[in-house]
C-alpha cells in the first residue's frame, strides 16, 4: 500500500514511505521526527500545522503526504538562519511577545514569514490577512501583529 516519496525538507533531501491517505502533518511529526509542527484541529481551521510547500503556506493536516513528492518543504525547524540561530521573524516573535503558550507560534511564524517573503513592508491589514488562518487563544493577536511589524522592519534593515 505505501509508496516511497522524495522531497526537499528544510534544505535537505528526504525519502520516506507514506500511505495514500496519510497526512503530511503525521509524516513530519512521525517518521521525519519534526515535532515543531503542531496538530491543533485536524480540519484546517487553526493553522497550528502550517508549513510551506514550495514557499506557499499550507495546512499540513489537510495536505495528503503523497503530494509532497518532488516539492520543497520548510517546517519551523528549517526556518532558521544559516548558523542555526532563530531567524529574524522568530526573533521578533520571541522579543515582541508574539509568543505566549507557544502552541500556535510555529504556524504563526511560518504564515508571517511567507507574507514577509513577498512583502517587506506590509500594512497592518495585510498582516492580518496573512494571519487570519492562524488561531491564537492567548495573545489577542495584538503583539503578534506587533511582532510581524518588527520582523518586517528587521528584514528591511531598520531594526
Amino acid at each position: 500500500m505505501s509508496e516511497e516519496i522524495s522531497f526537499e525538507l528544510n534544505g535537505r533531501p528526504v525519502r520516506v514511505a507514506v500511505d495514500p491517505g496519510q497526512r503530511l502533518l503525521d509524516v513530519l511529526r512521525g517518521p521525519l521526527r519534526l515535532t515543531g509542527t503542531k496538530d491543533g484541529c485536524s480540519e484546517g481551521e487553526c493553522g497550528a500545522c502550517t508549513v510551506t510547500v514550495d514557499g506557499r503556506p499550507i495546512n499540513s493536516c489537510l495536505f495528503p503526504a503523497p503530494e509532497a513528492d518532488g516539492t520543497r518543504i520548510t517546517t519551523i525547524e528549517g526556518f532558521l538562519d544559516e548558523d542555526n540561530r532563530p531567524s529574524a521573524v522568530q526573533r521578533a516573535f520571541a522579543e515582541t511577545a508574539g509568543v505566549q503558550c507557544g502552541y500556535c507560534s510555529p504556524g504563526m511564524v511560518l504564515s508571517a514569514a511567507a507574507l514577509l517573503e513577498a512583502n517587506r513592508d506590509p500594512s497592518d491589514e495585510e498582516i492580518r490577512d496573512a494571519l487570519v488562518g492562524n488561531l491564537c487563544r492567548c495573545t489577542g493577536y495584538v503583539q503578534i501583529v506587533d511582532s510581524v511589524r518588527a520582523a518586517a522592519a528587521a528584514l528591511r534593515g531598520e531594526a
Partner: protein, 802 residues
C-alpha cells in the same frame, strides 16, 4: 517606587525563543520507551443504564494491548464531590461518559478497537434544563451520592449564599430600582494544545504521569487516591508538567481520561498516552458553565447604591468539578463591586444530563459581572444619572471593608473609571447614539489579586539551588501555561537576589523535585511565585553574605595577588577588607559580591560562582540551597455565609467600548476598546500586555460569537468551523491600554494578579455601548446579530428600526 533594575522593564520571556522555533515540548510531542496509545469509548446516550458491554472483538484486534471497562478494573472515584467514576458501571449520565478504553500500538488501532466495542443501553428519561431538573418529578441524574446515601433531587449540595443588611427594607426604601434576567452560555476554553497525559508505572507500582495540569500537587493527591483505590495504597504519583499549550482553567481538575491512562498503563504494563483530538476536546472536555442570573439593584435619589439582590442558577451537567464552586468567586463582584450596603446572593446549582462543566478564566466572575454591570446602566438611566457618574459615586476606596469582608487595601478603580471615560471621550460621545447608531459604554471588575484561598492552603514554595557556576536553579510548583509566569519569576529573582536573568534556570514543574504549590489559578501565579522568590532570595543573600564574611577576604587577596602579577606597580587603595567584611556590609548585584563602602575596583568584587566554589571545595565544604514557603495573609471564606477575606489584595479595572450597530444586519462593530486595569505594579510590560489583550480577546468572543451549542445533551458544534473564537480580523480595532499602578503593600514589588481580569467586564461594556447606540438591552450572551435584530424589532415593532 523606582530604581528597579529589572522589574518594570520590557524583557523578552525566557521561553520565547524555544516556542518560536518549535523547540518547546507539549504533551503531544512527548514519547516514552514502549509507549502505547489509549482511546476511550464514550457514551452514545445522555442518560441510560448500561446493560452489557461486549469488548470481545476489540480484544482480538491485532495491536491491542489492553481493553478495560468499569467491570474489569477497580472502581476509581473522581471529581470534586467524588460523584464520578473513571469508567462508568451502572449508568451513563451524559453523552461523554467513559464506558471502556483501549491501549494499542498506535492511535488508529486503538480507535478501531474502540469502535468494535458494543454497548447495550437501556435509555432513561433525561433532563437538560436546570430549572426542569429541580422541578418535582424530574429524572434523577444521581440516585445516590458518593457515599451511597439516597439522593432526593438534582440539587448539587454546594450551598453558597450571602446576606448583608436588610435587602427587603432597602427595596422599599430605594428611590430607583432596576431588575433583569441575564444568561451566559457554555464556553469552550479552546486551549490551542489539546488535553492529554502519559502514565507510566515502575516495577514498584509507583506512577509517573506527564499531565496537562494547572494543579500538579492537588493532582498528585487525587492520583494517589486512585492508586489506593487500585489496591496500590501508599504508592506515589509523580506529576510532571510539560509545556502546556494554554490552560484557562482546564487544568484545575483531574480528568477521567487521566485515570483511564493510569488504569490502562497498569493493565498493559507499558506507558500509555492519551491525547484528545480537537473534536474530542470540544465534545468530551468540560466547558465553562452556563449561568442564569436574576438581578435587582436600587439606589437613592443621589444615585447611591442601596441594595443588590442576585440569584444565580447554574447548569452543572452530570458531575461536579471544581467549576461548580464558581459562586464562591461570584461573591466578589456581587458583594464588593462598588459600595453596596445591603446584599443578598443565592446560588443554586443543578445536576442535568448535559456535559459537566469546569473552570474557565474568571471563574464565575464574568457570568455575574455581565448581569451586575448591564443592570447598573439600566439603574443609572432609571435614576437619570450618567452611568459613569453613577459608578464614580459608588466607587470602592482603599480602607473599605466590603459586605463579604474583603479588606480593600489598594484600589485603583476610580482612576480606571476616569481613564476609561477619558479614553472613550465619554462626555462628547455618550448619549449621542441613535442617529449614528454609535455608542459608548463601560463596565468594571473586581477580582482576586493576591492569591485566592479556596483551599485550606493557599501557599507556594520555592527552592533555589546555587551551583559551582553561579547558576540559580529554581524549583517551583507553579505552572507556566503561556501566561508568562516564568518571565515574571525570572525578573523577580534577578531583582531580589542580584543575579543576571541569564543565570536563572527554572526547572520543569515536577512534584518530585518542586515544593508544594496549590495551583495556578485565581490569578495567583505571578503574585505567589514572585513573593516566594523574594523570600527565597532574602534567605540566599543572608547565606551568601555569611559565607562572604568568611571567604571574601581570602578571595579578594587572591584577586589582588593576580592583579599584582600583571601590574607590579599597582597601588591598592587603602581599604581594610578583613575589618569591613561583615555580612550586613555586603551587596550582590549582577552576579558580583562586593562591600558597599569599598572603592570601585574590579579585584574587590567576587563572582558569585567563585564564592560558591570556595565554599564547596574545601574541607567540610557546603553548597548553597535555600527554600521558601509563602502563604498569603488571606482567609478561607465560609461559603455558606459568603464571608471571608479570600485574597491578600484585589485587582480592579474598567473596560470601555465604542461600537457601531448595523440596524439592518444586527451586527455589532467594535470601533475601539479602552482597558484600564489596576495591576499594582508592572512586572514585565510585554507579558502584562499579553495577559490583558489576550483576556480582552476572550471577552470579545464571550460577548459576540462564542457558544457551545447543545441539543438534548449533545454538543452540536465540536470544532472551530462552527465554534467561533476570535481570529486576528475580529481583533482589528484599536485597544487603548491604561495601566494603573497602585503599588500594593502585600504584592511583590507592589504587583497584583492580572491573569483573569482582562475578560471580566468586556461583554457588559459592549452591551452598554450597544444600548447607548440603539437603545436596546441585550440579556443573553453571545450578542449575535440575530439577538440584536430581535431586540431591535421588539423595540420598534417589525417595521424598520428607526
Amino acid at each position: 517606587m523606582s530604581g528597579f533594575r529589572y522589574i518594570g522593564k520590557d524583557t523578552p520571556r525566557p521561553d520565547g525563543g524555544d516556542k518560536a522555533t518549535g523547540k518547546a515540548h507539549y504533551i503531544q510531542d512527548l514519547e516514552r520507551p514502549g509507549m502505547l496509545f489509549g482511546k476511550i469509548k464514550f457514551s452514545e446516550h445522555a442518560h441510560a443504564r448500561i446493560r452489557h458491554i461486549d469488548t470481545s472483538r476489540a480484544e482480538r484486534l491485532p495491536g491491542v494491548r489492553a481493553v478495560i471497562t468499569g467491570f474489569n478494573t477497580p472502581q476509581v472515584r473522581i471529581g470534586f464531590l467524588r460523584d464520578n467514576l473513571a469508567l462508568k458501571r451502572d449508568k451513563v449520565r451524559q453523552f461523554r461518559d467513559e464506558i471502556a478504553a483501549v491501549a494499542a500500538l498506535d492511535p488508529d488501532i486503538a480507535q478501531e478497537a474502540v469502535d468494535l466495542i458494543e454497548v447495550e443501553y437501556e435509555p432513561l428519561p433525561a433532563v437538560f434544563d436546570p430549572e426542569e431538573a429541580l422541578a418535582d418529578g424530574a429524572p434523577l441524574v444521581h440516585e445516590f451520592d458518593a457515599r451511597g446515601r439516597p439522593v432526593e433531587s438534582n440539587l448539587v449540595p454546594l450551598p453558597c449564599q450571602h446576606r448583608t443588611g436588610d435587602v427587603d427594607a432597602a427595596i422599599r426604601q430605594a428611590r430607583y430600582s432596576a431588575e433583569g434576567e441575564y444568561s451566559t452560555p457554555l464556553i469552550q476554553q479552546c486551549c490551542m494544545g489539546t488535553a492529554g497525559c502519559i502514565a507510566e508505572f515502575d516495577t514498584h507500582d509507583n506512577l509517573t504521569i506527564w499531565a496537562k495540569t494547572q494543579i500538579p500537587f492537588l493532582a498528585q493527591r487525587d492520583y494517589n487516591g486512585a492508586l489506593a483505590a487500585m489496591g496500590l495504597k501508599g504508592k506515589n504519583a509523580r506529576v510532571i508538567v510539560p509545556a502546556l499549550g494554554g490552560g484557562f482553567g482546564t487544568g484545575l481538575d483531574t480528568h477521567a481520561y487521566e485515570y483511564i491512562a493510569i488504569l490502562l498503563a497498569h493493565r498493559a504494563g507499558q506507558p500509555v498516552k492519551i491525547v484528545y483530538t480537537r473534536q474530542e476536546e470540544f465534545a468530551y472536555l468540560s466547558p465553562r458553565q452556563s449561568a442564569r442570573t436574576r438581578i435587582r439593584q436600587g439606589c437613592d435619589e443621589n444615585g447611591r447604591l442601596l441594595y443588590r439582590d442576585v440569584e444565580v442558577l447554574q447548569d452543572n451537567g452530570a458531575y461536579v468539578s471544581w467549576g461548580a464552586t464558581y459562586p464562591t468567586v461570584m461573591l466578589l463582584p456581587v458583594t464588593s463591586l462598588y459600595t453596596v450596603p445591603n446584599v443578598r446572593f443565592v446560588a443554586t446549582i443543578a445536576y442535568t444530563n448535559n456535559t459537566y462543566c469546569q473552570a474557565m478564566r474568571g471563574y464565575g466572575n464574568p457570568e455575574v459581572t455581565w448581569a451586575i454591570e448591564s443592570n447598573l446602566d439600566d439603574l443609572a438611566r432609571e435614576a437619570g444619572i450618567d452611568a459613569l457618574e453613577m459608578r464614580l459615586r459608588n466607587c470602592n476606596e482603599p480602607g473599605e471593608s466590603t459586605p463579604m469582608g474583603l479588606k480593600v487595601t489598594t484600589c485603583g478603580l476610580r482612576e480606571c473609571l476616569e481613564k476609561t471615560g477619558a479614553g472613550l471621550e465619554w462626555k462628547q460621545k455618550r448619549g449621542q447614539g441613535s442617529a449614528k447608531r454609535r455608542g459608548v459604554g463601560l463596565a468594571s471588575l473586581i477580582h482576586t489579586g493576591g492569591g485566592g484561598r479556596i483551599y485550606r492552603s493557599d501557599a507556594s514554595g520555592m527552592i533555589l539551588k546555587l551551583d559551582d557556576f553561579g547558576n540559580v536553579n529554581v524549583f517551583h510548583g507553579g505552572v507556566e501555561m503561556g501566561q508568562g509566569l516564568h518571565s515574571s519569576l525570572t525578573l523577580a529573582l534577578a531583582e531580589s537576589l542580584g543575579v543576571t536573568p541569564s543565570k536563572i534556570h527554572i526547572n520543569q514543574t515536577d512534584t518530585g523535585t518542586c515544593p508544594w504549590d496549590v495551583g495556578t489559578h485565581a490569578s495567583r501565579g505571578a503574585f505567589m511565585a514572585c513573593k516566594a522568590a523574594i523570600l527565597a532570595a532574602d534567605k540566599a543573600r543572608a547565606e551568601i553574605f555569611r559565607l562572604a564574611e568568611e571567604l571574601f577576604p581570602t578571595l579578594v587577596a587572591k584577586n589582588l595577588a593576580k592583579l599584582r602579577k600583571k601590574r607590579p606597580d599597582y597601588e591598592a587603595p587603602a581599604f581594610d577588607v578583613q575589618a569591613e567584611a561583615k555580612a550586613e556590609r555586603f551587596e550582590l548585584c549582577d552576579d558580583l559580591i562586593f562591600l558597599k563602602d569599598a572603592p570601585d575596583e574590579p579585584w574587590l568584587k567576587v563572582d558569585l560562582a567563585q564564592l560558591i566554589r570556595a565554599s564547596h571545595y574545601r574541607d567540610q565544604g557546603k553548597m548553597l540551597t535555600v527554600e521558601s514557603f509563602y502563604d498569603p495573609p488571606n482567609e478561607l471564606p465560609n461559603f455558606e455565609t459568603g464571608v471571608g477575606n479570600i485574597s491578600a489584595t484585589y485587582a480592579y479595572g474598567t473596560q470601555g467600548a465604542e461600537v457601531e450597530v448595523d440596524i439592518e444586519t444586527g451586527e455589532i462593530k467594535i470601533l475601539k476598546m479602552v482597558a484600564a486595569h489596576d495591576v499594582g505594579k508592572v512586572l514585565n510590560p510585554q507579558t502584562l500586555k499579553g495577559q490583558l489583550f489576550g483576556g480582552l480577546a476572550q471577552g470579545i468572543g464571550y460577548a459576540l460569537t462564542e457558544e457551545l451549542l447543545t441539543r438534548d445533551g449533545r454538543i452540536l458544534n465540536p470544532g472551530f468551523t462552527d465554534y467561533k473564537m476570535p481570529t486576528v480580523h475580529e481583533m482589528s480595532f484599536p485597544i487603548q491600554l491604561e495601566i494603573v499602578e497602585t503599588d500594593d503593600q502585600e504584592g511583590p514589588f507592589g504587583a497584583k494578579g492580572v491573569g483573569e481580569p482582562g475578560l471580566v467586564p468586556t461583554a457588559p461594556a459592549i452591551a452598554n455601548a450597544v444600548y447607548d447606540a440603539v437603545g436596546v438591552r441585550l440579556h443573553h450572551l453571545p450578542m449575535t446579530p440575530e439577538k440584536v435584530l430581535a431586540a431591535l424589532q421588539a423595540k420598534h415593532g417589525s417595521a424598520a428600526a428607526t
